[in-house]
């Protein structure tokens, strides 16, 4: 569902550009609004959310799908935690659909999806593992790297149970915006995937904005 935001980027309390292949880590307080902006189009922002006070509680794909009875995310979707609490609600979306079934790329999944020789290519899980090892104060490890949202990705499910990777429906300037319902730690891997055409073999930067 396309729903534009009334918020003005000029009034954001925080703005940061995240190059492709980098991670982004920030706590967003309850009541604040987070926007992820696809600067150049067809980029995937692989995102994990944690309760900022207890990262054992984290975004859960299964609880989210079950709670909303739908496999896609868009404006109105409530992102649920593993403890069945609402973490964030998507309040604006100019893309229309986001994936949460496809997971993230990893060195190991690149070997199965593309070629055994692809194992040393930088991948989203590498970015997250760098993030948690560079921030020991979070007390997080690979155990905390779980299923994610792929903002701006389109992975349609067919009625007969197929799963397809469709052309991106995002474009330069499209964004998704969500209001935090609890203090959340946001961990994004701005996807470095070079093996499929979802980003035209050209991973590009995103921008993260927060309004207090």
């Amino acid at each position: 569902m396309i729903k534009e935001s009334a918020l003005n980027p000029e009034t954001a309390s925080f703005r940061e550009t995240v190059p492709a292949g980098e991670y982004f880590l920030k706590v967003v307080q309850a009541g604040e609004t987070l926007r992820i902006l696809d600067l150049e189009g067809n980029q995937a922002a692989d995102t994990l959310f944690y309760n900022a006070h207890n990262p054992t509680e984290r975004y859960s794909v299964t609880d989210t799908l079950r709670a909303q009875g739908n496999v896609y995310l868009t404006a109105g979707s409530r992102l649920m935690s593993s403890e069945n609490n609402v973490m964030l609600e998507i309040t604006a979306d100019t893309c229309g659909r986001h994936d949460t079934l496809g997971g993230a790329c990893a060195a190991e999944s690149n070997t199965t999806r593309y070629a055994l020789e692809k194992k040393c290519m930088h991948a989203c899980r590498d970015s997250w593992l760098v993030a948690v090892t560079e921030h020991e104060e979070l007390g997080m490890t690979k155990r905390d790297i779980t299923h994610n949202i792929n903002f701006f990705m389109n992975v349609p499910v067919t009625a007969d149970g197929g799963l397809t990777f469709a052309d991106g429906i995002s474009d330069a300037g499209k964004y998704v915006e969500m209001e935090a319902r609890m203090d959340v730690l946001v961990m994004i891997s701005n996807c470095p995937q070079l093996n499929n055409p979802c980003n035209g073999w050209n991973p590009t930067p995103i921008e993260v904005l927060v309004w207090s």
Binding site: V61, L65, N70, L101, G103, T111, T112, R113
Partner: protein
């Protein structure tokens, strides 16, 4: 061959219960819906390194499928095959809907405590998983999207999910051939989208068999280039001392 072989082990798990064990590679776990309408929640971990676990997204996207059935392989996050589905009487098993929790069970079917009902009390899938995971030193951080054997959740063009209430029948069977040693954690608690009037409590019969050797022409191994490469990764893992 398995049709006539005698099982090495045969057991029945009551409805609304949980159990776990280690499957050794080269063996088949047969799951049988004893009375019909079963749901079996399952998680899988590598006993040598439980940080390696069943990965729903990798399993689905590698095989371009939303449902699981015969010919599919169940992948770990390390690009390896825990198990191959070598028989399936139903054609569709769910792995995206997760599991019921205490609030959901209490809301839908009422809270029934041990004090009231002894072993017929209303267990939920989430607590059941955590109970079994603790036996291996695992916990909430190790929870991941689980399998729901015998359950079908279909979608429409808009992505709306529908639980199919009359999917499984008495005797419906799934055979899983394990390609790696695997901690199997399971429960027989209701599917989280089941809207049955009474708490669904359906037992699981499970049996163990020795598997035939996996040939290069094995249907699961050759089902897709992705599966073939996952088998190659698994073979490499077993070369390591």
């Amino acid at each position: 061959m398995l049709e006539t072989a005698s099982p090495l082990y045969d057991d029945l798990i009551p409805g609304g219960s949980h159990w776990s064990f280690i499957m050794r590679r080269g063996h088949v776990l047969r799951l049988i819906d004893e009375t019909g309408h079963a749901n079996v929640g399952m998680l899988m971990y590598n006993p040598e390194n439980p940080l390696e676990r069943y990965n729903m997204p990798d399993t689905l996207k590698n095989q371009h499928t939303f449902k699981l059935t015969r010919g599919h392989v169940l992948l770990s996050d390390m690009g390896r095959v825990f198990a191959s589905i070598i028989r399936d009487d139903l054609g569709w098993h769910d792995t995206v809907s997760g599991t019921c929790n205490a609030e959901l069970v209490a809301h839908r079917w009422g809270r029934k405590t041990y004090q009231q009902a002894h072993n017929q009390y209303h267990r939920n899938g989430l607590s059941s998983f955590l109970n079994e995971l603790a036996k291996y030193g695992l916990g909430k951080k190790d929870l991941t999207a689980n399998l729901n054997w015998f359950s079908r959740v279909k979608t429409d063009d808009a992505g709306n999910m529908t639980y199919v209430s009359d999917h499984s029948h008495a005797g419906a069977t799934v055979d899983l051939r394990f390609e790696m040693d695997t901690i199997v954690v399971l429960h027989t608690c209701p599917h989280p989208l089941d809207s049955a009037a009474d708490y669904p409590s359906h037992p699981l019969r499970y049996q163990l068999f020795r598997a035939s050797p996996v040939t290069d022409a094995d249907p699961c191994k050759t089902s897709s280039p992705e599966a073939t490469r996952a088998f190659a990764n698994t073979a490499l893992y077993h070369l390591m001392p």
